[in-house]
Amino acid sequence: MTVESGAAVPRRNSRRGTAFRDAGPPVALVVIFSVFAVLSPQFRSIDNVQNIVDAAAVLAVVTCGITFVLMMGSIDLSAAGVMGASALTVSLLVANNRNDNDFGLVGIAAAVVLGCAFGCLSGLALVLLKVPSFMATLGVSAIGLGVATLMFAGVQPNISDAMLKSWAIERFLGLSYLTWIAAACILLGWLVQRYTRLGRYAFAIGGAEEVLTLSGVKVKPYKVAVFTLAGAFYGLGGVMVTSQLGAGLVQAGNGYDFSAITAAVVGGTLLTGGRGGILHSAVGVVLVMVLTNGLVQVGVSPYWQGGVEGLIVVAAVAAAVIPQRRRNQVVK
C-alpha cells in the first residue's frame, strides 16, 4: 500500500559511524602529544608525563561533574563558586591555623556535602523557578564565592592536617594520591553513567527530555540529582585544590568552570546533550593538560600561550566534526 517513509530513515547513523565519530579526540590527543614529544625532549620525559597526569587530577574531577550536566544538555558555571566554598569549608574543618578543629575525613566529607548542597540549589532553581541552568549556576557560583568570602574573614586558613596534605605529596606507583582519587572519580562516574538509572536518565534527558515525560518519568528529581552529583565532584575538587595549595583559597576554583567545559567538549561531549560521557571527557582533560604543559615546555611565549591553546582547541573540535558534517546539520 504505502511505500516508504522518507526522512524517517536515520541518516548515516551506522555503528561504524559512531565509532569513527568517537575516535576524533583520542586521535587528536595522540597527534598533539607526538608533536610536542618530537619538539621537546623534556616533554617526553617520564617526569613530565607524571607531572601532566598529576596536574590533570583536579580538572578531571571537576570535568566528571560537569560532564553529567552537559550530557543532559544543561550547562554548569558554578564550579568556581562551589570549589571556593568547599575549599574554605574543608580548610576550616581539618587541622588548621585559624581554629582548633581537627575533623579530618569528616571535614572533607562536610565540604563534599556542601558542594552537593550548592549543586542541589542550582538544580532546584532550574526545575522549580525554571531558570535556565546557565543563569542558575552563575547565580549559585556568586553565592558560593560570597559564602567563601564570609568564611575567609580576612585571614588565610592554612591546613596542617597531615592526611589532606599528604594527598598532594605522597605517591603510589609514581602518581600522587590526588591522581588516584581522580582516577577513582572517573571510574565511579563511568559506573554511574553506565549502570545507574541516574546516569542513563541524564543521558536520556539530553537525548529527548519530552519523551521521558511522556513515558511517565519524572525528570525533575533526576535533574536536581545530576546537579547535586556534579556539586559533589566540585566539592571534592575544592578539597583537592586545598590539599595542593595547603591553604583554603576563595579563588580555589578560578577558571575551572570554563576549562572543564572546554575539556568535556574537546573530548566529544555535545553542549546540546545526549552524547559523550565520562571517558570522552577524560580524554579531553588529558588533551587540554598536554596542551598547556606542552606549550610551556616548547617555550611558547607566555603572551601567546592562551591564544595558541584557543586556536588548537578550535582546530581540534573542527577536525573532530569534519566526519559528521552535513549540510543541514544544526550547530548552535
Binding site: 524517517a8 545507574t196 538509572r197 542513563r200 521521558l212
Partner: protein, 517 residues
C-alpha cells in the same frame, strides 16, 4: 449501518473497557473537544476518524492524562477516574503510542521499551543489563519483532522504532491486572506496506487480550482493521459505523458532513503536458546515496519517484534543493545550467521543497502562521527592504482563505494547529510568491485527512496546470499512480525503470512493486 451518536443502552452489554462522556477541552481560540462521547468495548479495535483538527489527538491525550479536560468524565471499566499523568493512565491500564514518535534516540531499544517501568531491570537505581535485555526481549517477542534489544534506537529503521514503541506500550500489562487499552495515534502514516501488514497482524493479536483504539487518515485501513469506527467532527462525536461492509466514502461523508467525489486524485483535471524543453533536467547526478540519475520534468508535469527504504529517492530530492551534496552530474532549469550549493540558490532558481518531517524541518513551531508562510518569499510581503505589515496580512489572509487553513488567526503559533493545517501553511509558503517553477514534495499528504489530501491534490493539479513542474515522493503507490504523469522507480540509488502513467493508462501497483524490490 451507521447509527446516531446517542449512547447505546449499557445495561445489557458487558461493562466497556473505557467510556468517555461529554469531554470538553478549550484552547485559546479553539474548542478542541466539545462534549465528546466515546465507548471502547473490551476486546475490540475501535477506529477513530475525523478531519485534521477534529480533536482526535486531544481526546486520546486526555485518555492518557496528558491533557486535563475542562469538563466531562472518563470511566475505566465503569469507574469514574481522574487521569493526572501518564503513570496514572498506565496504572489504569491505558497506554498510548503517540502521533509523533517518542523514543529517546540515544538510548538502547531495551531501555526505551522499559523506560519508566523498568521493574526488575533496575534494582535500587542500578541497572541490570542482562535482566533488562531479557525483559525487553520478552516484549519484542510478544509482537514478533526481531530487533536487537541492545541496539541504539537511532540506528534502527523507522518501522523498527515503531515496533519498539508498541513493545513499550505493552509494558502497561505489568501495571494493571485488567486487560489494557492501547491507543495508537496514526501509527501507519510512516510505515511501509509490509510493515503495516505486520502492524495489523499485531493489532489483531492484541485484540485477544486488550482493547485497541486506532487512528488513521487512511479510511480503508480503518475499515480493514477496526471492528467499529467512531467519527469525530469539530470536537464532537457525530456518529458510529460498524465496519463490516462499510465503505470509505460513507465514513468520509460523516467526517465532513457532505460527500466527496470518488475522483480522489482529480485525474480528470490532469492537463496535457507539452514538452518542447524540460523545466528540470538532470544528467548523471551522483551523491553519497544515489548514482547516475537522469531525470526530466516538464513544466506542468508531475513526476513521482517510488522506491523502498534506502532507495535514495529522498536524497535526490534534497540534492535538488541544495541540502545534500552531489559529487557529479549537472542540473538544468529551463535549459540553463545551475549549481545548488545551498537552499538559497535553490529558492532563487524557483525551486520549492516540502520536507517529510514537518515538525522538525517543515515549520518553526513557536512562530506564527503568518511568519511561517512568509519565511521564504520576501518580495511578496515587502516594500523595498522593509516588511509591509498590511501587505503581509492581506497576503496571508488570502492564502488562509484559499487553502481553508483552520486557524484562530494568522498570528497563532503554527504548533497550535492540527497537522493537516500545518502542512497547508508549509505548502502555501512556496505559493505566495507566485514564481515557483519546480516543487519537490516529500510525502506532502502525510498525516492529512481525506479532505485535506483532496485539497492538496487539487492544488497540485492547479499548480501543474499553471506550469509548475512537480517531483512527488508519494505517501502510497496509489497516490503516486493517481497523481503522476510519469513514475520513476528507484532501487539502491539508481533509477531502474520509468513507467509512463498517463490519464487512462495508469499502471497497477503490482507492476511497480516488482521493480522496486
Amino acid at each position: 449501518m451507521s447509527v446516531p451518536a446517542e449512547r447505546e443502552p449499557t445495561t445489557s452489554a458487558p461493562v466497556p473497557a473505557l467510556e468517555v462522556r461529554g469531554l470538553v477541552k478549550h484552547y485559546p481560540g479553539v474548542k478542541a473537544l466539545d462534549g465528546v462521547d466515546l465507548v471502547v468495548r473490551q476486546h475490540e479495535v475501535l477506529g477513530l476518524a475525523g478531519e485534521n483538527g477534529a480533536g482526535k489527538s486531544t481526546l486520546l491525550k486526555a485518555l492518557v492524562g496528558l491533557v486535563t479536560p475542562d469538563a466531562g468524565e472518563i470511566y475505566v471499566r465503569g469507574e469514574a477516574v481522574k487521569l493526572r499523568s501518564v503513570v496514572d493512565a498506565a496504572n489504569h491500564g491505558i497506554g498510548m503510542v503517540f502521533q509523533e514518535q517518542s523514543l529517546v534516540p540515544n538510548l538502547t531499544a531495551a531501555e526505551n521499551i522499559l523506560l519508566g517501568s523498568e521493574g526488575a531491570a533496575v534494582r535500587r537505581g542500578v541497572y541490570r543489563w542482562d535482566v533488562m535485555r531479557r525483559l525487553a526481549q520478552e516484549q519484542l517477542d510478544k509482537i514478533g519483532s526481531k530487533i536487537d534489544p541492545l541496539a541504539r534506537t537511532d540506528t534502527l529503521s523507522f518501522a523498527d522504532r515503531q515496533m519498539v514503541e508498541i513493545a513499550k506500550v505493552l509494558r502497561i500489562e505489568q501495571r494493571s491486572q485488567h486487560p489494557p487499552v492501547i491507543i495508537l495515534d496514526e501509527p501507519t502514516s510512516v510505515l511501509e506496506s509490509k510493515e503495516i501488514e505486520t502492524l495489523f497482524a499485531q493489532i489483531r493479536r492484541l485484540r485477544e487480550f486488550a482493547s485497541v483504539v486506532f487512528v488513521s487518515h487512511r479510511l480503508d485501513e480503518v475499515l480493514d482493521v477496526c471492528d467499529r469506527v467512531t467519527v469525530l467532527r469539530s470536537g464532537q462525536s457525530v456518529g458510529e459505523v460498524a465496519t463490516a461492509g462499510a465503505v470509505p466514502r460513507e465514513l468520509h461523508r460523516m467526517m465532513i458532513g457532505s460527500t466527496g467525489s470518488d475522483d480522489h486524485y482529480h485525474e480528470n483535471a490532469a492537463g496535457p503536458v507539452e514538452a518542447e524543453q524540460p523545466r528540470l533536467s538532470i544528467r548523471g547526478l551522483s551523491g553519497s546515496s544515489f548514482r547516475d540519475i537522469d531525470l526530466d520534468v516538464a513544466a506542468g508535469e508531475i513526476v513521482a519517484i517510488v522506491g523502498v527504504h534506502g532507495s535514495g529517492r529522498e536524497d535526490v530530492c534534497r540534492a535538488l534543493f541544495g541540502i545534500e551534496p552531489t559529487t557529479a552530474g549537472e542540473i538544468r532549469m529551463d535549459g540553463k545550467k545551475i549549481s545548488l550549493p545551498n537552499t538559497r540558490a535553490a529558492c532563487a532558481a524557483g525551486i520549492g521543497y516540502v520536507p517529510a518531517e514537518r515538525k522538525t524541518e517543515g515549520m518553526v513551531g513557536p512562530m506564527s502562521v503568518a511568519e511561517n508562510m512568509t519565511l521564504t518569499k520576501q518580495k511578496a510581503r515587502c516594500a523595498g527592504p522593509f516588511v509591509a505589515p498590511k501587505k503581509q496580512a492581506g497576503l496571508v489572509d488570502r492564502w488562509i482563505d484559499r487553502l481553508s487553513i483552520r486557524t484562530p488567526s494568522r498570528d497563532t503559533p503554527i504548533q497550535r494547529l492540527s497537522g493537516g493545517n500545518q502542512q497547508k501553511v508549509v505548502l502555501a509558503r512556496w505559493l505566495i510568491g507566485g514564481d515557483i517553477r519546480l516543487l519537490l514534495l516529500d510525502h506532502p499528504t502525510r498525516g492529512l485527512d481525506i479532505g485535506a489530501r483532496s485539497e492538496v491534490y487539487r492544488l497540485m493539479r492547479e499548480l501543474a496546470a499553471n506550469g509548475v513542474a512537480t517531483v512527488l515522493l508519494a505517501d502510497s503507490l496509489e497516490e503516486a499512480i493517481g497523481m503522476a504523469d510519469r513514475i520513476l522507480v528507484m532501487n539502491d540509488g539508481r533509477v531502474v525503470t520509468e513507467v509512463a502513467c498517463p490519464n487512462g493508462g495508469k499502471p497497477s501497483p503490482l507492476d511497480l512493486v516488482k521493480e522496486m524490490v
